[in-house]
């Protein structure tokens, strides 16, 4: 089976300082990877670099997606190829409603007109999974949403846009127990019904409780220090990162 995402020796600078040093990582179709590490390790940098944020400069290595080199492709092109990034701090964009935004993103991705009726039906279903009040669809994108609603809106976009790879950047941070459970339910739906691959960037393990995890990567000071299966998550949960900091 061809790799979905293959990152080879990726080096990334932020404001002329190298943050990631020769990172390599392979994600197969439908797999769930967890990326853990202490604060400042470069986890979000990796998420941003994979998605092509121009503020993160790739100085070495390459990124292949479905066998295609996308190292220099624009963010929207990556999205159209099937990548998705759930933001740690989703931005507020006045003037466009959440519903219209998702519909227009879908239309741009597929180049096809999407019937309003079908779209609304599907979105209502996705909002139900996420315990979201349907009125959020008619509110301006993230404007005045609480932290929890913003994260739910991210997962709603995930479920509607159906990428083949989703990077979740600290989607669970700042959420209460119930909200984490709801978000996690949405992610599970993505795993199961769309066979979606995931890279979950997280500090905590609460979001992982109900998800099957295939691989765990520990990122420290811009290097991958350890790799393992789901049991590595439990180990970190019990012992922290101390062992990897040496």
């Amino acid at each position: 089976m061809a790799d979905l995402l293959k990152v080879k020796d990726l080096a990334v600078n932020v404001e002329d300082k190298e943050i990631l040093h020769k990172i390599s990582l392979t994600v197969n179709k439908g797999e769930t990877h967890v990326l853990m590490g202490p604060n400042g390790a470069g986890k979000s940098t990796l998420g941003n670099a994979l998605m092509g944020n121009p503020q993160y400069e790739i100085t070495g290595g390459n990124i292949l997606f479905n066998g295609q080199d996308i190292t220099n492709d624009s963010t929207d092109k990556r999205a159209k190829l099937g990548m998705f990034l759930s933001f740690q701090n989703p931005l507020e964009v006045p003037g466009i409603t959440l519903g219209n935004f998702i519909r227009s993103a879908l239309q741009q991705r597929t180049g096809q007109h999407i019937r309003l009726w079908d779209f609304k039906k599907e979105m209502r279903k996705a909002m139900e999974i996420l315990n979201m009040d349907p009125s959020y669809a008619d509110r301006d994108l993230n404007v005045g949403f609480s932290g929890g609603e913003k994260k739910k809106a991210e997962i709603l976009q995930l479920l509607m846009l159906k990428p083949s790879l989703a990077i979740l950047d600290e989607t669970d941070s700042g959420l209460d127990v119930d909200a984490v459970r709801t978000v996690s339910k949405g992610v599970e739906e993505y795993q199961k019904s769309m066979d979606g691959a995931l890279i979950i960037i997280t500090h905590s393990t609460r979001i992982l409780e109900s998800l099957k995890v295939d691989h765990t990567h520990v990122l420290v000071n811009g290097n991958i220090k350890a790799e393992g299966d789901a049991s590595l998550v439990d180990k970190i949960n019990n012992e922290g990162f101390e062992e990897f900091l040496k």
């Binding site: 998605m51 944020n53 121009p54 503020q55 624009s74 963010t75 929207d76 990556r78 999205a79 159209k80 998705f84 990034l85 933001f87 989703p90 931005l91 964009v93 006045p94 003037g95 466009i96 935004f101 998702i102 227009s104 993103a105 741009q108 991705r109 301006d140 976009q157 846009l161």
Partner: protein
């Protein structure tokens, strides 16, 4: 020889507005270029002015000749009055039937969507082509309520002649500034609206001004009187095709809002980028009345535009919502003025300005609270967005508060499009230019929300036109 303009328009598709047909000399009467006593007399003859109006024009010309060109705003050096044709009359009579409008002129208005809009959502329409109205019509039900909507020329000779004489350039006297004087001398066309006591006009009236002749000026006069307890929404639209020589617009708008009356005045201005737009708008509001301005400025090479409101009666109120978009070669100096002359008056000014490709936008305002205006409230919020490093945005607010008992607030913000927001939208598969257009439309959303749907759509199309170069 007509002077060449240096500023060139972007290579964007403006075809909807740039549509023009070459005027054939036999179809138009054109006065010679420049501004002299003889020219003003000739305009007066052509228009069949009453004697007082003829005298008024000539007095205004004298004032014009004495007044200096304002030195505090954007340069208008490229404007040479000796090159401007102040009066161009299509050889047709004003009619209330689109079928009677000459084919070429009718086509122009159809391309702009005016007759369609009239059928759909307007109570009355006036259409001015160059210096004269070619069409004016008011729904019968509205006319039956006693509402008057006609061109100023007809009003000057009809039953409202005295009303015109009592109000014409009383609010904006020719002595106000040089271009008000110019207007007084060569004004032509425009609309007169009278809404009688207690009458509510449920759907808007609209006048559309189209300047088609190269090197010409348009000097329409709009006079609206909304009597006690009455209610009106008036929309004005303006556009012109692009020429390589300077065109001039020096219109004048005078609005009289009676006791407990309400007037909403909406403008979508999209002059071509060779236009000098030196327009003067002023309203006076009696006790308990409300004046609402909604103003979108997109076109012109240089604009000076500061609609002014005089809150003359106690408890009167003014709302101003404006958006200005300055692109390449444009210097748009816009804002608002308000004078609080009575107790418990309130005003709210909210503006958004956008500058791009080296364009300059200036927010300029004046808030005066006189000592009679106890418990007056004023609040100003102006936000600017600069889309690149070569564009310019300035904020010049002035305040003059002469009473201790006033509540005055000012908030200004100048910013850029957030790279993070662009990245966020792009991460969902939206192209960079689309993402920027979305953010800019969102920035202007507080204004488009104030417009009737069709105009909000037009405004968003104009923003898209500037941002993406095509109407989607």
């Amino acid at each position: 020889m007509a002077k060449k303009e240096r500023a060139e328009v972007n290579d964007i598709d403006r075809s909807m507005y740039d549509f023009r047909y070459e005027e054939k000399d036999q179809d138009f009467y054109k006065i010679q270029e420049g501004l002299t006593r003889k020219i003003v007399e000739e305009i007066s003859d052509k228009k069949g002015d009453p004697q007082w109006m003829r005298d008024f024009r000539l007095r205004s010309l004298e004032i014009y000749n004495e007044k200096e060109i304002p030195q505090w705003g954007p340069s208008i050096e490229g404007l040479d009055m000796s090159n401007i044709v102040t009066y161009v009359k299509p050889k047709t009579k004003m009619t209330a039937d689109w079928e009677e409008v000459p084919e070429d002129i009718k086509n122009t208005f159809e391309k702009l969507g005016i007759p369609q809009a009239e059928r759909k959502s307007l109570a009355g329409v006036g259409a001015q082509y160059d210096s004269e109205l070619v069409y004016h019509n008011l729904q019968k039900e509205v006319a039956d309520k006693g509402v008057v909507y006609t061109d100023i020329e007809s009003a000057l000779h009809g039953p409202y002649a005295d009303m015109i004489k009592d109000h014409f350039m009383h609010l904006v006297p020719p002595t106000d500034h040089k271009f008000a004087a110019l207007h007084g001398a060569v004004w032509s066309g425009g609309s007169f609206v009278y809404v009688p006591k207690g009458v509510s006009v449920e759907i808007p009236l609209q006048s559309y001004f189209r300047l088609n002749a190269p090197g010409a000026g348009q000097f329409e006069h709009t006079l609206i009187i909304v009597d006690e307890g009455a209610d009106l929404h008036f929309i004005e639209g303006c556009s012109a095709p692009k020429y390589n020589i300077a065109n001039l617009h020096a219109g004048c708008v005078e609005l009289f809002v009676g006791k407990n009356a309400r007037l909403r005045y909406s403008t979508i201005e999209n002059w071509s980028k060779n236009m000098y737009n030196l327009n003067t708008k002023r309203a006076i509001v009696e006790e308990g009345g409300t004046m609402e301005w909604v103003s979108g400025s997109f076109g012109s090479h240089v604009s000076y535009l500061y609609p002014m409101t005089i809150l003359q009666g106690a408890h009167s109120h003014m709302d101003f919502t404006g958006v200005t978009f300055a692109g390449k070669g444009q210097n748009l100096d816009t804002g608002a003025k308000v004078v609080h002359n009575a107790p418990d008056t309130s005003s709210y000014i909210s503006t958004r300005s956008i500058s791009k490709d080296g364009g300059a936008s200036t927010y300029r305002s004046s808030v005066v609270i006189n000592n009679k205006a106890k418990n007056a409230k004023n609040s100003v919020s102006c936000q600017s967005l600069m889309l690149d490093d070569i564009s310019r945005s300035d904020t010049i607010p002035a305040m003059d508060v002469r009473t201790q008992q006033a509540d005055v607030g000012h908030e200004a913000k100048i910013g850029r499009i957030s790279d993070d927001a662009v990245f966020y939208l792009m991460s969902r598969g939206i192209s960079e230019e689309e993402a920027r257009a979305l953010i800019v439309s969102g920035f202007a959303d507080s204004v488009s929300k104030e417009l009737p749907l069709e105009y909000a759509v037009e405004m968003n199309n104009l923003i898209r036109l500037e941002m993406v170069g095509a109407i989607g």
